[in-house]
């Protein structure tokens, strides 16, 4: 590589959804892996095109739910039977039917919190700074109406010139460098 200023990757902007999806497909097919598409709203075709299917969120939520269920009932049981058993209106210490509501609520609570936390963690948030924002048009349009496709520099297949040409070929209205 000749001494140029380092590069995070290349950013191509597209005019409409269809082209973007199509471009994404082809990029992926072409063997690029460190690819990411950007849109102001979710586009399912993109997920398929880039073969994105992260199952970790759902798994985490399941675990969270189970933990909550155990914690919830455990709390009720421990308090009413072990910690300080009291004769409440002649009911048995372990009046399990009365413990169901709390168990249920705690289950939902932990599950939901896990959902949001995993989302944030996996997305690497909070990340107010990101190289892509260095692309002026991206910063101004990605969250409004801009449709972008980015290929990162550390993709093994990445080559400044070839990749730029490749993106242009895909019908990008403009390809720009992403400063790190």
């Amino acid at each position: 590589m000749n001494a140029q200023k380092p590069l995070y990757g290349l950013m191509a902007e597209f005019n409409d959804v269809t082209t973007l999806v199509d471009a994404a497909k082809r990029t992926h097919a072409d063997g690029y892996r460190k690819v990411d598409a950007f849109s102001p709203f979710p586009i399912h075709e993109l997920f398929e095109a880039l073969e994105l299917d992260d199952k970790r969120v759902s798994r985490a939520v399941l675990l969270g739910g189970i933990a909550g269920c155990v914690a919830g009932f455990g709390l009720c049981y421990w308090v009413s039977v072990i910690a300080y058993p009291l004769n409440i209106g002649g009911r048995p210490f372990n009046s399990w039917p009365s413990f169901i509501p709390v168990t249920f609520e705690v289950t939902i609570l932990l599950a939901s919190i896990t959902a949001v936390l995993t989302l944030i963690v996996l997305n690497g948030f909070p990340a107010p700074y990101h190289p892509v924002f260095n692309v002026k048009r991206f910063a101004e349009h990605a969250s409004q109406d801009g449709l972008f496709l980015a290929i990162e520099a550390d993709d093994p297949k990445f080559d400044r010139e070839k990749t730029r040409a490749f993106l242009q070929k895909l019908g990008a209205r403009e390809v720009s460098d992403i400063e790190p």
Partner: protein, 1019 residues
């Protein structure tokens, strides 16, 4: 309200329809008024500047409190030991002293609980024949009077602060001035005096000043009996199978009522082996608790009682001596039949019956009654005519009239008034206060700076009964000693000490006077024959004195046991004692007015007593106000509703009263209760501008103090809010009170059980909780309960229950842990009444506990439904879920933390609850715990009867039984074994530990043919 509608509803109701107030039978009137009552009510608090300032001042504080209230560190407390500790004092354990409080001149024997020298509670003296452990509300509430911040504290003369020394000099100069005239200008005015030593002092004075006169007045005292020596009846209801009252309320009125009530209920009590009861006929005017208990009640005008009595006596062939003008008797034929049946029943019970004339009926009725008792051979068995217990008994209204005349004629220079507040309570026709102005020196000795004090020159603070020595006699003549529980908190002195100032010996201490009198009496044995209760006689006078003090009374002084009349050897008490009662003036037409002392504040002397003010009055459950009772019929005719203010005009005098419609009230009579309308009672008792007019004394005349005709009643169109603790008087088929006649019950005991559903235990999901060890429970006998309300007062005193005031009661926030519900049944004009004390039921499957989010109410190992005040956050969920609504909530800061004089009153064994906390009956858990600890320390089990709850201890009818349900031999277990035992709302499966014994009536089959079974069914 539309009473005809009620009648039709009652008529249409099959079986016995229970109802409680007319306001409920046709709610409309009440409710329209209520619904139109404008919001916002509490805004007043906001407008009142004080409230607002307080608000701004405390706002920040309270917010801070809200933040850190719970984490603040406990402040350091001081601890102050004795310098020299009396050896019998054990800090942490109360001492009990036998003593007495005086009511209407008579002694009510008591035991006073004292914690480190401060009396905290009054209970009856179990040893004493006049109490047997019971105490009425007045007696118990005396403890609150003791600590009343409004008590008279200092000697004053014309408003200037003076000392007793000053008064003594004043007295002496007055006496020397009187000496030449033999004390002609010297007058004493007292209530009834039964205290021998006090009578002796009075006699001593009258001997020294032969011309001096002693007048007696007591607005509520019974019509003075003619002076003949052995005219005073003492009844023995425990020997009477048939009781007939002639307008007599022996259950709640009169010095003997406690013992009478106990005897009556004993004879009435049903057990599995004893299946018979006494029968009570009540011929009465104003509905009373006695009438409410009656198996047959005949409501008549007070004036007609004499006529009926004569008729009855005629049927019995009894000829009363002194046959007076025959009083016309009511024409209604059914009465004749009723009386005839009664006569037959009486004949059938010769020697086992008793006829009881009312205290407020004229002497003639008493003579007739006596003749009947003689004719029936009751004298000696069910009634004894014994010596007078009051010194120099006289007709008190006449006596006061004489004094008034003398004052008016300027014959009085020195007037010494010992209590009684005549300015407020004297009959209006005497114009007492005006005439008092003509007296040169008026000295007034009283517990309060009241209306009379205001018009007297010298105000002498009285020492409270618990601060002084005394020796009044009980209804049966037993001399009952009063010993001070605490040194006088103010400058108060006892009547003895005041009268002593007028004697030649001059200033003496109360103890000296009383003790000297009795040690002398013991040694001389002249007037009194004092015998030791045990076999071996007393070692000496001192031993006698010690023992008498310990027991609280002087043995062998009961007139029934041959004790003498109270000696009074003086030339004259000022009045010819044999002067007959003035005749009741003949029928003036119009309505009849009946005067009665108020059921809870008596003649007005208890007006400043919050406990008694808030104690619901019998039958109406009204609190904090008086009312004129009228019959539903009269209300119908005049279109009156509860709370309508009427103007009463009677013999040229007028007063206003709010009316209350009372079923069973004689149609053509109006009953007014005097005692309210105080202007200088104190912070609690002072009536506001409106309520001041509601004062029957303004109508009462000395010649007919108890009833008279010629009353005119006109509605003013005004309304007055009367607050009752019970809006609703119908059972709506829920049978909280189960009833059967003796006949029905003996024939088929299951009749009680069949009156409501029972809950099949198989229906419950959970296994029963096992209670080994103690298992506390209570049974309340509705056949015995008379609804007197003493239990409520006892509970208030024992458990530091606050007084909340009229406004809060009107919002339904009264705090009584045990309330006495009352139900009417049957005929609107002459209904049956039932009383039901309702404490916490201590349910085994308590609905309240399950819903408490913080476990502030839980079940103890002995099955108590514990209420943990310090844990309670006050969600009120438990109360919502309590089907008996026995829980009470501190909606505001009800506990008085600021009146310092009230602090010593509190029971140290019970937490004082603060704002925002739920509270309720605990079965007196403090007593249970003490007993358990004592038993453990002595390594034994708690004995049956060792734990006595406050309500049980004081119940004159002995209707409440408490004990261990796991002990097959305990009294409570055996009582609950009866087939008339039932639990209220059992069908909810709350499994109440408190159960009731059904009310069994014993009607005369001739007058009340047995209803077909099933008619008593309530659903």
């Amino acid at each position: 309200m539309d009473l005809s509608a009620i009648r039709s509803r009652l008529a249409s109701a099959e079986g016995r329809l229970y109802w409680r107030s007319l306001g409920e039978l046709t709610d409309s009137a009440q409710f329209r008024e209520y619904l139109h009552r404008e919001f916002p009510e509490q805004a007043s608090e906001w407008n009142d500047p004080k409230g607002r300032r307080e608000f701004l001042k405390l706002m920040s504080a309270s917010l801070a409190l809200a933040g850190v209230g719970a984490c603040t560190r406990q402040p350091q407390e001081q601890i102050v030991p004795y310098v020299r500790q009396p050896e019998d004092v054990v800090p942490g354990r109360p001492l009990f002293y036998a003593s007495a409080v005086i009511h209407g001149g008579y002694a009510q024997p008591v035991l006073v609980e004292s914690h480190l020298g401060r009396p905290t509670k009054i209970e009856g003296n179990p040893e004493h024949p006049a109490s047997l452990g019971a105490a009425d509300s007045f007696t118990q509430a005396e403890i609150l009077n003791l600590y009343d911040p409004d008590r008279a504290k200092i000697v004053t003369n014309r408003g200037e602060v003076r000392s007793w020394g000053h008064f003594l000099t004043a007295v002496q100069s007055a006496l020397t001035a009187q000496a030449p005239r033999g004390g002609a200008g010297l007058r004493f005015l007292t209530g009834a005096i039964t205290s021998p030593s006090l009578a002796a002092l009075m006699a001593e004075i009258l001997r020294a000043h032969p011309q001096a006169k002693w007048h007696q007045f007591d607005p509520a005292g019974r019509q003075g009996q003619t002076g003949d020596a052995n005219a005073r009846p003492i009844y023995h209801f425990d020997r009477a199978d048939l009781v007939v009252t002639l307008d007599a309320d022996f259950i709640t009125c009169g010095p003997g009522s406690l013992r009478y009530q106990r005897d009556f209920s004993t004879r009435r009590r049903l057990t599995d082996d004893r299946k018979q009861m006494n029968r009570l006929y009540a011929i009465e005017s104003t509905p009373t608790l006695t009438g409410a208990k009656a198996d047959h009640r005949l409501p008549v005008r007070a004036a007609d009682v004499e006529g009926i009595a004569r008729e009855l006596s005629a049927l019995l062939g009894a000829v009363p001596q002194g046959e007076g003008a025959s009083v016309p008797r009511p024409g209604e034929p059914d009465i004749a039949g009723w009386v005839a049946a009664l006569a037959r029943d009486l004949q059938a019970h010769r020697g086992r019956s008793v006829v009881v004339p009312g205290d407020f009926q004229p002497a003639a009725v008493h003579q007739i009654a006596r003749s009947m008792n003689e004719a029936l051979g009751n004298v000696g068995t069910t009634v004894t005519y014994a010596a007078q217990v009051e010194a120099a008994p006289t007709d008190r209204h006449a006596s006061l009239a004489e004094l008034a005349r003398a004052m008016d004629a300027g014959e009085v220079q020195v007037l010494m008034i010992l209590g009684g507040n005549p300015v407020f309570s004297a009959p209006v026709d005497l114009k007492f206060s005006e005439k008092m102005a003509k007296v040169g020196l008026v000295a007034y000795h009283s517990l309060y700076v009241d209306e009379t004090a205001h018009l007297s020159h010298w105000n002498l603070p009285a020492a409270h009964a618990l601060e002084s020595w005394n020796d009044a006699r009980a209804y049966d003549g037993t001399v009952t000693l009063t010993q001070p529980l605490i040194a006088p908190m103010y400058e108060g002195r006892s009547p003895h000490e005041v009268l002593a100032l007028f004697t030649p010996q001059g200033d003496r201490r109360g103890m000296q006077i009383v003790k000297d009198y009795w040690t002398a009496a013991y040694s001389s044995g002249a007037q009194w024959t004092i015998t030791s209760p045990d076999d071996e006689p007393f070692a000496n006078a001192d031993a006698f004195w010690k023992r008498a003090l310990h027991d609280g009374f002087v043995p062998g002084t009961a007139v029934t046991a041959g004790g003498p009349a109270t000696p009074f050897d003086a030339p004259s008490s000022g009045l010819d004692p044999s002067r007959p009662a003035p005749p009741v003036t003949g029928d003036q037409g119009g309505l009849e007015i009946i005067f009665r002392p108020d059921p809870t504040i008596w003649d007005g002397s208890y007006a400043n007593n919050g406990w008694l003010q808030e104690l619901p009055k019998p039958l109406t459950k009204l609190t904090w106000d008086t009312s004129a009772w009228i019959s539903p019929r009269l209300a119908e005719d005049r279109g009156l509703h509860n709370g309508d203010v009427v103007e009463l005009r009677y013999r040229g005098n007028a007063a206003k009263m709010p009316v209350w419609i009372v079923p069973g009230h004689p149609p053509q009579s109006v009953t007014v209760f005097f005692g309210y309308g105080r202007t200088r009672a104190g912070r609690v008792g002072n009536a506001d501008e409106t309520a001041r007019q509601f004062n029957p004394y303004l109508l009462r005349t000395s010649d007919a103090p108890w009833f008279g005709s010629g009353l005119e009643m006109a509605r003013t169109g005004e309304r007055y809010l009367l607050v009752t603790t019970q809006e609703h008087h119908a059972m709506e088929g829920r049978v909280p009170v189960r009833v059967a006649t003796l006949e029905e019950y003996t024939k088929e005991p299951a009749v009680i059980a069949h009156q409501a559903h029972a809950f099949p235990k198989t229906l419950t999901l959970y296994p029963d909780h096992v209670y080994d060890g103690y298992k506390w429970g209570m049974a309340i006998d509705l056949t015995s309960c008379t609804g007197c309300g003493a239990c409520t007062t006892a509970c208030v005193a024992e458990n530091n229950i606050p007084v909340v005031g009229k406004e809060q009661v009107s919002r339904g926030r009264e705090m009584h842990w045990i309330r006495v519900d009352h139900y009417f049944a049957g005929d609107l004009d002459n209904p049956e009444s039932y009383h039901q004390p309702v404490p916490c039921m201590q349910c085994e499957s308590a609905p309240c506990e399950v819903v408490c989010p913080v476990a502030a109410t839980t079940h103890s190992s002995e099955g108590l439904n514990d209420m943990v005040y310090n844990r309670c956050v006050g969600t009120r969920y438990c109360s919502n879920n309590c089907p008996y609504k026995v829980r009470r909530f501190n909606f505001l800061e009800y506990a008085d933390w600021y009146t310092t004089t009230l602090e010593p009153l509190r029971n140290p064994d019970v937490t004082v609850r603060s704002r925002g906390i739920m509270e309720k009956c605990t079965y007196c858990v403090q007593r249970i715990n003490q007993a358990r600890i004592d038993a453990k320390r002595e390594e034994r089990k708690i004995r049956d009867g060792e734990i006595v709850t406050a309500c049980q201890a004081t119940c004159p009818a002995d209707a409440i039984v408490f004990g261990d349900l796991n002990d097959p031999n305990s009294r409570v277990t055996q009582v609950k074994a009866q087939q008339r035992n039932y639990g209220v709302l059992e069908d909810l499966n709350t499994r109440p530990r408190t159960s009731y014994l059904a009310a069994i009536r014993n009607p005369n089959p001739e007058l009340e043919p047995a209803r077909p079974a099933g008619q008593t069914e309530q659903h």
